[in-house]
């Protein structure tokens, strides 16, 4: 079971309409975004996406002149209540695993939230979280959400 989720990172200029243009490309390609986050500075941003078919979507974006990289993240199911995220971060801390960024979303059907984590050491992160009793979600399940 693949536990590393493929994530697309897209380079965006910090300029009006750029994000919309990327999203328009995805709409035309009929790509349904599972999760999204954006990191930005005053000059540029990085749009991070989880989509059902990462390789195909990367190609689609590249054909439209976007710069795209594929990276990996871990998805963990957590309680959708105060303290849910703290518990997960605590496990990584205890194992001395540095987190570079994270983003989360709420799954309405199941009343749980899912957090996507990008630690420096992804294998170490997966192991620590499983050992700590957390529910790490497989790539297959995330793409299907």
């Amino acid at each position: 079971m693949e536990l590393k989720i493929k994530q697309l990172s897209i380079f965006l200029e910090n300029r009006k309409g750029r994000m919309k243009k990327a999203l328009d490309v995805l709409e035309k390609g009929n790509v349904n975004i599972r999760a999204l986050s954006i990191a930005d500075t005053s000059d540029f941003g990085i749009l991070r996406l989880i989509v059902p078919e990462p390789l195909k979507t990367k190609k689609l974006l590249e054909e439209n002149s976007f710069i795209v990289k594929i990276g990996e993240v871990i998805a963990v199911r957590m309680r959708d209540e105060p303290g849910g995220l703290g518990e997960i971060l605590g496990i990584l801390d205890d194992n001395n695993i540095n987190l570079e960024y994270l983003y989360a979303f709420v799954e309405k059907k199941e009343k749980v939230a899912i957090v996507l984590l990008h630690p420096e050491d992804i294998d170490g992160g997966i192991k620590a979280l499983i050992d700590g009793g957390e529910e790490v979600i497989s790539a297959e399940e995330i793409y299907r959400l």
Partner: protein, 433 residues
């Protein structure tokens, strides 16, 4: 091979005698037949007969682009209009264009100069030359065309644009020599790669490029992409067009066809002549032109002249590639900055596309330089801190090159304008503020 050994390998003493005779003749021709020159000479208190040595050229008045504009369109012609068989103009982007008129003899000189140059980079009658320079009022297209025909090459007069067709023709016709401007060449390579062209299958022997400033790194990039050596072509409409100077196989400077075009280097501020080997503004005099003799034309191009026998056997004086223009030099906080310096710094970064734009502004009564650079997938990282680091690294390279702090902005690929002629690299917004 050397096209015209007698002219190109002439002994220095013999050449100086030839140049002096021709200089006296052309000065007299201009004085007697162009009222504007008569006035310039008279104002300077000099007569053509006063030229006793080559050094006396320094007493003659300069000709500037403004002079040519004042007599627009045909005021510089020294023969009756019926003897003019062709005209060309400069692009006219900075004002009224300047006109150049050619007699049949002038066209012969032009063909001869370009033939010599094309032979320098290996052209023979076996070659197929794809000329992407524009055919029209621009001299680039016709100059190459005439030179190639003189040699007997097969010329493909495809002109600029229709990039996909260029690639198809290159492949189908088996082009052996490509002619383009550096920026169009890079664009062409980009499209060729998208089209999946396999360079290994191409039979490219050499590339001639000109009409634009370039850096050593740009040449390397072009040679790497096209897998063929690239040679520099220099010329300007006012003097004749391409063919004033071209590069030989040593790729170490351009041989000036000095039996036809006499070069000097001056200090653009004091207008004094500079000794050989010093960097300054190139000044050219046409020694043999009939239709439109031009005396001491200030090219605004910055270069250096070097004499001495070249490994190729030619004795024609060499000029370095143009490293700046007196008019595209930007003064930023009092410091002279040339786009070529920025380009040099950018090309030190691996994985950076050589597409950039320089924007000068004056937000708070202080000059600022912003450099827009296209990001590439080699450069892109998923980490903000790494991207910021790359931006800082580029800023430092530029700082080392020009001594000023600039702001680098990474932009998305293929968003900066591509040119099919001369690239617009600099946008100076200061004068509008």
């Amino acid at each position: 091979m050397i096209w015209n050994e007698e002219a190109e390998c002439m002994l220095q003493e013999d050449k100086e005698i030839l140049q002096l005779l021709r200089l006296r003749k052309v000065a007299k021709h201009a004085y007697n037949n162009v009222p504007y020159y008569k006035k310039l000479f008279d104002n300077a208190g000099i007569k053509p007969e006063d030229i006793k040595t080559l050094k006396d050229i320094e007493k003659l008045p300069f000709t500037t682009k403004d002079d040519l504009r004042k007599v627009y369109p045909f005021g510089m012609f020294a023969v009756s209009p019926k003897k003019i068989v062709e005209v060309h103009t400069s692009s006219g982007t900075t004002g009224k264009p300047t006109v150049s008129g050619y007699t049949r003899k002038d066209l012969k000189i032009w063909s001869e100069a370009m033939a010599r140059g094309l032979v320098m980079f290996g052209a023979t009658e076996e070659d197929i030359i794809q000329n992407t320079h524009g055919y029209g009022l621009f001299t680039g297209g016709f100059g190459v065309h005439y030179g190639a025909q003189k040699i007997g090459c097969t010329i493909i007069p495809i002109s600029t644009g229709q990039t996909k067709r260029q690639i198809e023709i290159m492949k189908d016709f088996g082009t052996t020599i490509m002619i383009f401007t550096p920026s169009y060449g890079l664009y062409l390579a980009e499209v060729a790669e998208e089209e999946g062209l396999n360079w290994e299958e191409m039979n490219l022997k050499s590339i001639g490029f000109g009409a634009e400033m370039w850096t050593v790194e740009i040449r390397r990039e072009i040679e790497k992409r096209f897998k063929a050596p690239a040679y520099n072509i220099y010329g300007l409409t006012e003097i004749i067009g391409p063919g004033v100077a071209l590069e030989c196989s040593t790729q170490d400077g351009l041989h000036i066809m000095e039996d036809h075009f006499y070069p000097e280097i001056i200090d653009p501020e004091t207008l004094e002549n500079l000794p050989e080997g010093e960097r300054g503004e190139l000044v050219l005099t046409t020694l043999t032109r009939e239709g439109m003799p031009i005396i001491r034309f200030r090219t605004k191009d910055i270069t250096t002249l070097r004499r001495g026998e070249c490994d190729c056997g030619r004795t024609l004086i060499k000029m370095d590639r143009i490293t700046g223009r007196t008019d595209d030099m930007l003064k930023i906080r009092g410091v002279a900055v040339f786009p070529s310096q920025i380009e040099k710094a950018l090309l030190k970064m691996d994985g950076l596309e050589p597409h950039y734009q320089i924007i000068a502004t004056r937000p708070h009564h202080l000059d600022e330089l912003e450099i827009l650079v296209e990001a590439s997938s080699d450069l892109f990282s998923d980490e903000i801190k790494e991207l910021v680091g790359i931006k800082k690294k580029i800023e430092n390279y530029i700082h080392n090159e020009i001594g000023l702090r600039v702001n680098v902005t990474l932009v998305e690929p293929k968003t900066l304008p591509r040119s099919e002629g001369k690239a617009v690299r600099v946008i100076d917004k200061r004068r509008f503020e």
